[in-house]
């Protein structure tokens, strides 16, 4: 990890931070949003070179409050608002990373990252390679994404394919509260730029997780790595649902319903789209012989397409049926009155399971 001499004011001791985290986490379920917030706070505490900035992330704490309280606690030099310009935010982050910082920046909504596309595709992704490894860009671009929250146009895009297709970027997307914490810490500590997709419908979801313990494990190097490691979210034997981010919970529900109908579905949460865990995915599909890829984004030339292509290549002789997809339609995201017709639903997943050419 890069360490830089820093005059940035830490403001708060490790002990105080731990105490705050403790109070917040010990006795009650934790939201996904709080896990992200805690990960940011812990990273700011652990590493002087971490800086957070973006639109409304300071005083307001972000429109989703993921940076809530960070400016008050760490000072305006560690977490601050910028003028309203996404290319500016990413471009400035590139420069800061070139000069010893580890910027963690927020794009307010998925579609509002597009003005920064040039900076991301031509610089964030390529600076390390362009300099033969001499200028690594350790930075995280946080993007709240996907639907399910009744957001209006431009607020619900699933844009992961654009970044996953761009060599040089890593693409993470957590689906559980614990992963929200661990994967964000890993992303911030990565020497590579990470586009970090946060399923916004999960921000308010709660799980019983002891963040303090998780933090201690992570900092002691004892937490299991998540990068490149898919998670078997549910074990099963008849077919595999391969999914990530906001669709993991839908797949879990589908698997539950299927189980009641006597079909055993395995659910794999990819966690990091780049790098991709071919091994775990292929092992599962070789075992079950059937697979469906489930993702919210429009399907054409998507991450789901890639997963299908990889799976059929690696598991061809184990497959009893073609690998199918349940994805968003190839239409602009229809928020909010009709979004439910576009989102992969339990019913649509189960319908697709039925199409997996089960012998009579």
């Amino acid at each position: 990890m890069t360490t830089t001499t820093s005059r940035v004011n830490p403001n708060v001791s490790d002990a105080t931070a731990r105490a705050a985290a403790k109070a917040a986490t010990e006795n009650q379920p934790v939201t996904f949003g709080k896990a992200l917030n805690t990960a940011l706070a812990d990273a700011l505490t652990a590493e002087q070179s971490v800086v957070i900035f973006g639109e409304d992330v300071g005083t307001l704490g972000g429109v989703f409050r993921i940076t809530d309280g960070l400016t008050a606690r760490f000072g305006n030099e560690r977490c601050f608002d910028t003028p309203l310009a996404e290319s500016g935010i990413v471009g400035m982050a590139v420069g800061m990373a070139m000069n010893g910082m580890r910027p963690v920046i927020e794009m307010q909504f998925d579609a509002f990252a597009y003005p920064a596309f040039e900076q991301i595709a031509s610089h964030v992704a390529k600076m390390r390679n362009r300099t033969q490894g001499r200028l690594p860009l350790p930075m995280v671009i946080r993007i709240p994404y996907a639907g399910g929250v009744g957001g209006v146009e431009h607020h619900c895009d699933s844009s992961e394919a654009y970044y996953a297709h761009t060599p040089g970027l890593k693409v993470f997307t957590p689906a559980t509260v614990a992963d929200a914490y661990l994967m964000l810490r890993e992303a911030i500590d990565s020497e590579d730029p990470v586009v970090f997709f946060e399923p916004k419908k999960l921000y308010w979801s709660k799980e019983q997780v002891n963040l303090e313990e998780l933090a201690a494990q992570y900092e002691a190097g004892k937490a299991a790595e998540t990068e490149g490691k898919a998670r078997i979210a549910r074990a099963g034997s008849d077919a595999t649902l391969i999914t990530y981010g906001p669709s993991v919970s839908t797949c879990m529900q589908a698997a539950k319903v299927a189980a009641e109908e006597g079909i055993s579905l395995e659910v794999i949460d990819i966690r990091t789209i780049v790098p991709f865990d071919d091994e775990s995915v292929a092992a599962s599909v070789r075992k079950t012989g059937r697979a469906i890829v489930v993702a919210e984004a429009q399907g054409f030339a998507s991450v789901a397409s890639e997963i299908v292509a990889r799976v059929q290549e690696r598991c061809f002789h184990s497959l009893a049926a073609p690998v199918l997809r349940v994805t968003g339609f190839d239409i602009p995201f229809p928020a909010p009155t009709l979004e439910k017709y576009n989102l992969p639903s339990v019913e649509r997943i189960l319908d697709t399971v039925d199409q997996l050419q089960w012998e009579a």
Binding site: E55, G58, T59, E153, H155, F329, P334, L338
Partner: protein, 387 residues
């Protein structure tokens, strides 16, 4: 002022006013302000006007027309906020406090001219003539903008900030190539001026000498970010000189000043003097949208200070003092506003009738095989659901 300047067209224009190009391009020393907060007309030497920046008072008839639209605008803002609270609408970014800007942006235009609004410019769109329920379509959570932009010469209210300014430039350019004298008013907020598209739009408009008025409502905040963190410029109007166009600042809560400045800007643009940048100083009196909590980033005292400058009360006192607000006039104006509010209430209380199958109809001019396949799949699901 710079004598090495090669400000070609601006020199011609400024010559008409007997001032230097830079004095023409830079905003007047003081912002244009005709009415005091209490509605009294300012003495002429306190109006901010100066050579090359002269603004005759609008006629009483025009003021009354604008006032009526203002009253409707305020009523609509408050009605919509109520409908959101009642759960009849998904989201509403109110322009409460900024209605004078909204009204002037629409009323300065003539038949055939275009308006490019943002999500906050409902009142401008209404004033441009779009039917109330059509304006509100997207805020109800429907998937489309609700009105026919070509029927009203009014673009969809833009959500991705600043992007619409370039479309405005394109509309003006197309008209110019065809020899039409269409003027375009392109609206955005103070925050939006920081986006790269702002720069590109102003530059394109100036280089192609297009009749576009860039109208910035500086309401002091971009969600939570105060203007001081948005720009270090003396004013946003000062940006004009960097493009070779004229800039002006105007009191955005002074309907009379706004009508004067915008009407003149439209005339100058239509006469071929190129684009203009107008910055209106106003204030967002309510939260960014109903989803925002403005207590987190500003003091009540600041809001209260601006309450005293309310644009509706100000012009009302003026018109009242001028004897224009007869009982009949007031009744008519109120009635008009109430009628619009009622239309909204009635409309919003009916559920929107949308067919999910339509989602595939307008992605392309005709359905691709893939669209047809996906539509059929959905239709099949729906049929099974209904069965």
């Amino acid at each position: 002022m710079s004598t090495d300047a090669h400000a070609g067209r601006m020199t011609e224009v400024s010559d008409k006013f007997g001032i230097t190009p830079e004095d023409y391009m830079l905003p007047a020393r003081h912002m244009i302000n005709l009415l005091d907060p209490d509605g009294t007309l300012r003495p002429q030497d306190k109006q901010g006007t100066e050579p090359g920046h002269e603004y005759p008072l609008p006629s009483p008839a025009r003021l009354m027309e604008a006032y009526s639209a203002l009253v409707t605008g305020r009523r609509v803002n408050d009605q919509n906020s109520a409908l959101v609270r009642q759960g009849r609408m998904a989201v509403y970014p109110s322009s409460h406090g900024q209605e004078a800007c909204q009204v002037a942006a629409a009323l300065c235009l003539e038949e055939g001219d275009w308006l490019f609004p943002t999500y906050r410019d409902t009142v401008a769109v209404l004033t441009k003539g779009v039917a109330p329920m059509e304006v509100m379509t997207s805020f109800r959570g429907e998937w489309h903008c609700g009105y026919d932009p070509k029927a009203y010469n009014c673009a969809p209210m833009a959500t991705p900030l600043t992007t619409q300014l370039l479309h405005a430039v394109g509309v003006a350019h197309a008209a110019k190539l065809r020899g039409e004298d269409t003027v375009v008013v392109a609206m955005c907020g103070d925050g939006a001026t920081s986006e790269g598209d702002f720069h590109e739009a102003l530059n394109f408009a100036a280089v192609f000498n297009l009749p576009v008025i860039f109208f910035v409502q500086n309401n002091k905040y971009a969600i939570s970010v105060p203007f001081s963190q948005q720009s270090a410029a003396p004013s946003l109007a000062h940006k004009a000189v960097g493009y070779g166009m004229a800039g002006e600042r105007v009191d955005g809560n002074d309907l009379m000043a706004l009508m004067a400045v915008m009407t003149r800007a439209v005339r100058l643009a239509r006469e071929g003097n190129g684009p203009l940048l107008v910055e209106a100083h106003t204030y967002r009196m309510q939260a960014h949208t109903n989803a925002d909590d403005d207590k987190r980033y500003r003091e009540d005292a600041e809001v209260a200070e601006w309450k005293a400058k309310d644009p509706v009360i100000r012009i009302q006192s003026y018109l009242d003092d001028a004897g224009l607000l007869t009982e009949q006039a007031t009744a008519e104006i109120t009635e008009k506003a109430e009628a619009v509010a009622k239309t909204l209430r009635d409309g919003m209380n009916q559920d929107a009738d949308t067919d999910p199958r339509e989602l595939f109809e307008h992605v392309y001019s005709s359905k691709t095989p893939q669209m047809a396949e996906q539509q059929a799949m959905l239709a099949d699901e729906l049929a099974r659901e209904e069965a």
